[in-house]
Symmetry: C2
Subunit: 510 residues, 2 copies
């Protein structure tokens, strides 16, 4: 095998050209996926699955061909010695390139294709199983997916627990060894909060208003608010889909979706604010990273920290509603009179519930811990797929104090397993912890943050997030990024202080 | 070079696998293009141009790589002797494959990229030139494009006139040798019609009603009508764009666009019917051709014959308005009272005008003949780019009897040259001739066609078009297809009879 280039610059330019092609393929696949959820005619589903599979397979094959491997090897060998020819950002991009090529090489194209096929069928089985609350209908597919994930863990390799190979896909560098003690402490403290709340009445009985309103009214109000927050509609858009999501074809083309419910404009709004948090991240990535493998979030957890920052920390604050209520009243005149204080109380109740995506900020993490434990046990081989429902119900009883009436309200509620996305759930809780740590850093840098929020002035907040978090893209690992922004290591402390403060206000101890 | 496969079947399957990949890339590029005209955020234009260019370049490189060439050579050599292993349709698909590979090989990737770049800049220059009615502002780009087209003709090769190389791109097998006498006869007879009309008054002064109506009203009425005609909205959709078009990602995913004008619901309707004619063609292609190079229209002219069949032959008939007027009145209650007869008269006036896309069915062909002559002269080197405006104005005076007030109403009116699409215009007139020939064949097979139209029953008409024209896709050449459907060679006779009949009714000779 001959030397790929006589110097680092030429190797970098060669890698850049390859990244551009792969990145354009990935963006096209993202548009195909976005369109599938928004505008695609119903009969086109099968053709669409093939189109997406072809683009992904092409991207995988380009990332694992001889040229890509030679370049990755070159960077691994030479990047330290000849890095002075590249800027710091370019050096980091080259590292991301080498890491992604290595990662792609771990999984043969045959495996990628097989997993795609299993996933397509499993999603149909899961939908039916959930609709009928019948675990048996999902059992075979779930077993196949668990076996595939075990196989994938072996292919990818790991140190310590096999689950580490999967968690690393969503949260680079994260391991069971870090998560176990963290989640244990979080669980104990969450149970302490629930214990505290149990004997007390909330300070207010205010509830989130249900009010009949058209999808158009809800969307216009929500759109106006996320535009005021800073989402750039010249470089993005919003559409309706069954499940809200955010996808990005370029920093200049970031797409949000939301859903509208007949009587719940606040749910539509919070959903869109969540996605706009992801969207602001994507729009804020340094333009230098465009069409490289580094144009993406540092991890799923960091991405989630941005959506949760806006949805929870900002939009569930009292100050936010001083800004937002007049806008809602303008677009939805039938919205009942609420004060910002009432909205704060209504949006910050704590109460154990069965469904993860409806959970409050405090009990949400218990839902994640249940899934984390089950996934870990499946990957360690100490739990069989057939035992999942029983194990699930025992954990819900233990952590949330609730009885699970059926599997639709239990282990069949999430889409993730049908997608083969074992290892994803921890990112949600990590996102909450990151968000709270970023909140502390922001408040230190900008103590009057919530005065800005009250006045509907979000530019300084967005600027801080962009400079400190967004613009780095994937050039920093999540743990590096957290340390750089906060000066501290990942911990649950800030999150717990943040929720204790809210809980003490919503549930005063008389 | 080793034998690619031990038999025809294996070669076919190999070609099929390659066609599927290229076809998925082309479909993804089509979605990127559709999205650009409908929903893309404005700042995304540059990233989008790069994404489309990458996908097209990849498709071109896969169509010209060693494997593709080996397969094309094999088919060229073996298809006659070992074709019994393939079905008739497969044999034809293999021929289309070999032809497309040969065609792609004629043009190096470097040329494709350069032309794309020139075209992007030329479109901006053309828009500005047209807005300011200044040919000088377009001159340099137009010269570059003419030179590129001359170069392309040399690359592609031709017999006889260099223009043949370009016409063949849009109308396989068509040549100046066929077009010259055809267009001459058409010109003479069109001038005879204009001469006849000149001295006469129309039978009715009815005009197409202008009526204030919302885009939503216009779109709903038009959508309801094209759905009744047979366009399948489970396998397609309609959106709004600045210029109406039809694009197809699969037979199950065919997309129309239209534009709405404040006061002209009939223009919106006819525009959508035109695009639905293209769309019915795409939806009617044999599913066996899915993801092969044969899933497309036989030529641009045949495609245009389908849109013009519906827009002109059906939708400008009196019977059509018996069906359509009640639907328009339902969705646009303020639409003035019109009878089907009044609509017929209003939609079939003949009058020379300056702008091609606003021309009537009769004079339209003169606009095409003007462009045809100029393009041919440019390619023969007997006309310089600088002489275009003068030549244009002379021809308009000669054929349409009008003075051109400025170049915006003259040689700058069409987008085609700025796209480098020299050779495209003849397909419009060929489409009219094909459509009239198909009309004759249909009326012979189904003499009560217009009774069906009157009752809004389009199924039998669609079925006839599908069986005779649509389902073949590109497996037949346009001239083969015409002969197969009509039993006759391409000629202007049917078209002239068709328009003379209309003209005699609209302009009775007292």
């Amino acid at each position: 095998m001959s030397e790929p280039a006589s110097n680092c610059r030429r190797a970098y330019d060669d890698a850049l050209s390859l990244m551009r092609t792969v990145s354009d393929l990935t963006s096209a696949a993202a548009l195909l996926g976005w369109d599938q959820e928004t505008y695609m005619p119903p009969l086109a589903a099968q053709a669409r699955a093939e189109q997406i599979a072809t683009l992904n397979a092409l991207a995988h094959s380009m990332m694992t061909d001889e040229r890509a491997v030679r370049l990755a090897e070159y960077f691994e060998r030479e990047l330290h010695s000849s890095a002075e020819e590249l800027t710091i950002l370019e050096t980091r991009i080259a590292r991301v390139f080498a890491r992604d090529v290595r990662r792609a090489l771990k999984v043969p194209e045959e495996f990628v294709r097989r997993k795609s096929q299993v996933v397509v069928l499993a999603q149909e089985a899961w939908k039916e199983a959930r609709a009928r609350a019948s675990f048996a209908k999902f059992y075979n597919d779930l077993r196949a997916l668990v076996e595939l994930s075990l196989h994938e863990a072996e292919l990818r390799g790991y140190q310590g627990h096999p689950y580490n190979a999967l968690v690393d896909l969503y949260e680079p560098g994260m391991t069971v060894e870090t998560l176990d003690p963290l989640f244990d402490r979080l669980e104990q403290e969450t149970l302490r909060i629930l214990d505290y709340v149990k004997g007390l009445s909330p300070a207010s009985n205010a509830a989130v208003p249900r009010v009949s309103s058209t999808g158009q009214e809800q969307l216009l109000a929500a759109r106006t608010i996320v535009e005021a927050i800073g989402f750039n509609f010249s470089a993005g858009r919003v559409d309706i889909s069954a499940h809200p999501f955010c996808t990005s074809l370029a920093t200049s083309d970031v797409r949000l979706t939301t859903r509208t419910a007949d009587d719940n404009p606040i749910s539509c709004l919070l959903g869109l604010i969540h996605e706009a948090g992801h969207g602001l991240y994507e729009q804020g990535i340094d333009p230098t990273l465009e069409r490289t493998f580094a144009r993406d979030g540092a991890s799923m957890g960091i991405h989630e920290s941005q959506s949760l920052f806006w949805e929870n920390i900002i939009a569930r604050s009292e100050e936010f509603w001083e800004f937002a209520l007049p806008i809602i009243e303008r677009f939805i005149p039938q919205f009942p009179t609420m004060t910002p204080t009432m909205m704060f109380y209504a949006l910050n109740r704590v109460e154990p519930s069965l469904i993860r995506i409806e959970a409050d900020e405090v009990t949400y993490n218990l839902h994640i811990i249940i899934r984390y434990r089950i996934e870990k046990e499946l990957m360690a081989g100490t739990l069989n797929v057939a035992e999942i429902p029983e194990r699930w119900n025992v954990l819900v009883r233990e952590l949330l104090g609730l009885d699970v009436p059926d599997d639709a309200n239990g282990c069949l509620q999430d889409i993730h397993w049908s997608l083969g996305a074992f290892g994803y759930f921890p990112s949600y809780t990590l996102g909450k912890l990151y968000a709270a740590m970023f909140r502390s850093a922001l408040l230190k840098a900008m103590p009057d943050t919530f005065d800005h929020v009250r006045r509907g002035e979000f530019a300084a907040i967005c600027q801080w997030l962009k400079e400190n978090i967004h613009h780095w893209g994937r050039t920093l690992c999540p743990l590096e990024l957290v340390e750089q922004v906060t000066g501290r290591s990942l911990a649950e402390k800030d999150f717990l202080e943040y929720v204790w403060e809210k809980v003490m206000r919503v549930y005063p101890s008389s």
